[in-house]
Symmetry: C2
Subunit: 356 residues, 2 copies
Amino acid sequence: MILLGSTGSIGVNTLLIAKKFSLNIDVLVAGKNIDLLNQQIKEFDPRVVVIADELDIHKVNHKNVEAGNEAILRAIESSECELVVNALVGFLGLAPTLKAIECNKQVALANKESLVAGGEFVDVNKIQPIDSEHFGLWYLLQENKKHKKMVITASGGAFRNWDLNKLKNATLADALKHPNWSMGQKITIDSATMTNKLFELLEARWLFGKGVYDAVIETNSLIHALIEFEDGSTTAHFANASMQLPIAHALKQNMNEKILPNVDLLKIGSLEFKQINSDRYAIWEIKEDILKNPHRGVVINAANEVAIEKFVANKISFLDISKEVIQAYKKFDVKAKNISDIFEIDKEVRKWSKQL
Amino acid sequence: MILLGSTGSIGVNTLLIAKKFSLNIDVLVAGKNIDLLNQQIKEFDPRVVVIADELDIHKVNHKNVEAGNEAILRAIESSECELVVNALVGFLGLAPTLKAIECNKQVALANKESLVAGGEFVDVNKIQPIDSEHFGLWYLLQENKKHKKMVITASGGAFRNWDLNKLKNATLADALKHPNWSMGQKITIDSATMTNKLFELLEARWLFGKGVYDAVIETNSLIHALIEFEDGSTTAHFANASMQLPIAHALKQNMNEKILPNVDLLKIGSLEFKQINSDRYAIWEIKEDILKNPHRGVVINAANEVAIEKFVANKISFLDISKEVIQAYKKFDVKAKNISDIFEIDKEVRKWSKQL
């Protein structure tokens, strides 16, 4: 397979599963963590390696190393593998997703921005989502049973129990304290603002089509998805929080091997559900509107990436992130005609957002 | 259809669903509630009516009324209907189940004693269970996914929060205070002793075959069943507590109509899981053993019916019910060779239990 983003948490788990299933790694794509990349090269012996920065090439223990986004696309094109695992972070993951589909490859997709920004122009038949929520929905779908609502769950992020009045002083360090697990910086901030869940609703909308989508907070992060069926039945997918489960299913069809221990409900004792409201999570204000207009995902994604950069650079406050995203959403009421438009809109929104 | 037990809560709900789906009622079988039966006759105009007691025949507003167990079997035999809904209570429901299958009819089965006592000799391909737990398991099963454990839930019954020391003084009135809903007398007592859940595990064992079965207490009675899959996924079936949902599916294949409102998790707020232990529920002591030897269900069913009669007649205490059932279970280590043996064993155990 081709693995984009091999040194992040999804990448590392993907390699664990690849090893379990004895799958060949043809291409490894990583960012700045060259030490870990070198370990992975030693273990998995890829044909090609691509990294982010040309200046790091000499540090990589491989004879076939390239750098930059164009090199990623060339590596996909040159590979005979049928599967691309895309665990890149941010909008830059979209072009590789499109390239993989163009080359008729399957995409195991952890890069949520591919669908959030470009969902309208992505052939979802080629996509298997690597995300507990979409995996959970997929697991629960049943052919003969008519569903009426798909629900995903949220942990509530770092500030779920904070006094609302203190949120304005929240620091980067505060935002990175995820209550239930450890992930990369961007997604942890997106989790604190609830933007991550809004993105997942948009992804679900593209993956599963028109319908009713919603999210609730489940504080233990053991239920990942629920489907409400027409008859009055509701089914839920429980699993211990590990990306290995969706990854294993993405890497192998009809996977029936043991990946995780099952959730022990008696040990947990209780589960708690809470509403997501816009007092705490300002971005939730635009949820209904954007679910009706999912093509506008490109706008909030671009504005969000810029706002997070500013927050990380200490230029804006935590609450400003969602404020700026909503401002951009109101400003840019646009509809792309094709995938090139998506890249244009993305650029335009970023430019505007940077000058805010 | 042929409806056995039309005036109980399952029977009444079955008629509501039959009306919704415009299904014809060919035979009504009821017990002592002649007033309600007469209303049902007026509304559904059955061809044949059967009641329990010959002395009540003159009260029934129908020209074709018979009485007694043999009359039930004749009514099944004489009907052209393909579906029998068996909502009789106790061991006397077994013979009609067998007769219906012998006549090549489908059985929508709420009479759990049919499987508990005679499961080994009942063709389960002809059975659709009317019970939230088995319906939930059936709903969750998926062809391509390998399951490793099936779990049903229990409310915990009337005494789930009682001081253990006070249980010895529990009265019939106490035992009938079910925490979550109202059902008939026998099943409510079985719920208080947890014998009802043991019976449902045995039913599940016959319906779904060899495997691992267990039960947990879920105090809100909103989750009815869970399946643990091999990969580490667990799925759960949630529904508001109403028998109309399993009944509707039993009466109509591929049913996708609205029967109930879906559970509102945000209104519920939280769910609580507790272990079933034999300190509070003495019958749980024999759970593992009987699940390995499900053919011995006939013994505990007979002993349980007798013990409940004694408890209702104020001849033994609440705690004596399970004590006597366990005594009988230890005394009668028998295996029926055929269905006649089942009836013989049932008789023998009853005789012994009465003299205890």
